[in-house]
Symmetry: C2
């Protein structure tokens, strides 16, 4: 008898992954096969081939990104800051081990260097091998990989980056420090004078406290800030928020230009993602 990896279970002769991090909502994905499985010193890493979403990256039993919709998140966390910055040259990505954000950043010819700081090497390896739709099997010579703690990495840098992208997982466990005020201060220091940062700031529906706290904390460190949203079908609530902190006034949305090839992002979407639904606007303006 083959022993199933933890987090998976069989039912009606089918293999399932059930996410039950939330006590009151369970989502079960039917799985075709296990493409990758490794217990690293940090976490349990899997790539599971699912029927509905294709290969999915799963950390400690929680779906992080899928081949079907991972590009939406990655395009929106990368192209918004990259088009807001007039001439992005040096980019730091903290987290982002699925390589999807780096793949999008690499579309910009102005970019000379991309530092990708992912704490777990296995995530990068698994994504490159088994999630080509997301990672694009990234092999750009401008990307430097740093398998280390993003907080410590950011602390050592001064005035270096044009854009910093914080592509973190949820604010529990190791990722929690990526939502702390001290971290945003490090990012401010790590950016050069024209620099700006973006981070994912969770669901405006299910995690309003995190979104609001992120907005406030970034406002304490950066003189300019803004929030935008995108749809991420496999994240709870579908709607996802991103928060920007900037040292310079932000480009007006209608002046954003975008001509790269992408699957979700286009010039219209990049301009209009700043149109916030009434309840989010109210929440932020309280």
């Amino acid at each position: 008898m083959v022993r199933l990896p933890k987090y998976l279970h069989a039912s009606e002769d089918k293999l399932w992954l059930t996410e039950d991090e939330r006590d009151n909502l369970k989502i079960s994905y039917r799985i075709k096969s296990i493409l990758f499985q490794e217990t690293t010193p940090l976490q349990h890493v899997m790539v599971l081939d699912s029927v509905d979403f294709g290969p999915m990256l799963v950390l400690d039993g929680v779906v992080q990104t899928t081949s079907m919709d991972g590009h939406i998140y990655n395009e929106m966390i990368a192209h918004v800051p990259l088009t807001l910055h007039p001439h992005p040259r040096k980019v730091l990505i903290i987290g982002g081990g699925d390589c999807g954000a780096a793949k999008e950043v690499a579309k910009y010819d102005t970019v000379e260097r991309i530092d990708l700081v992912e704490i777990d090497e296995a995530v990068v390896r698994a994504s490159k091998l088994y999630m080509p739709e997301v990672s694009g099997k990234l092999s750009d010579p401008r990307v430097a990989y740093h398998y280390t703690d993003g907080v410590a990495f950011a602390k050592k840098v001064k005035g270096e980056y044009d854009v910093i992208i914080v592509d973190s997982s949820d604010p529990v466990g190791p990722a929690q420090q990526l939502f702390e005020p001290g971290f945003y201060k490090s990012l401010h220091t790590a950016l050069n004078e024209g620099g700006l940062m973006v981070c994912q700031s969770q669901s405006p529906i299910f995690h309003q406290d995190v979104m609001l706290q992120t907005y406030q904390r970034i406002g304490e460190v950066f003189p300019y800030r803004n929030v935008y949203t995108a749809v991420v079908p496999t994240y709870p609530g579908g709607l996802w928020s991103f928060t920007i902190g900037s040292k310079q006034p932000l480009t007006e949305p209608e002046r954003i230009r975008f001509s790269h090839k992408a699957r979700y992002a286009n010039e219209e979407v990049l301009r209009q993602c700043f149109a916030l639904p009434a309840f989010i606007r109210e929440l932020l303006e309280k």
Copy 2:
């Protein structure tokens, strides 16, 4: 021993509704209590009080709308056509038994009459009693209820309406005919010369065929058409599409005016919901 209604099951001392209409993705909602249950000649109707989404309307085991997010769908299916029309007086709603779309339409002082054609009276009754967040316990004297088949109702009308809203369930079973070419022709006839219609046209991610077919069929009947999207957290994929067919050229999005109180919709959102992600734009322009 109390017998559970079908579609519900107990596990770990908790009560759950599991949607398994899709073979490869199951969503389980933890339920606090059963607020309403009735087997009508047409379907099995429940209102279940869920932990995460509050009271939910469930037809034949499938979640239709929830107290937490129902307003998003209802605001977007109502306010887009109502703000596109320069002077909406007579409005027909086909489906929409949860009363949420009618509640939004009733915000317009120009509107003199709202014909709500819902095939199942129990849905209206259950929503008014147990889904006040969605239905607003609608009791506007301008609303006339017609508990009858929407297709037959529309066929009998000529040149009557300014706006028709088709708030249907998924295109299976009785709702299937609300996606047929003949039905759009009836709507065209039922509208007056300045009239326009809107229908929900399913998920741009999971039901691309339905969305595309709706766009094409509406294009065969109406000289002007457009597509917009909104986020509906409890629908599969989160992102939802709506298609408009109009006898007159549509108001430019930047000329849309909106000053009603709403929770999701505001002037910015109503203008910018027409910014379609690249993959949808490509699909429609094929």
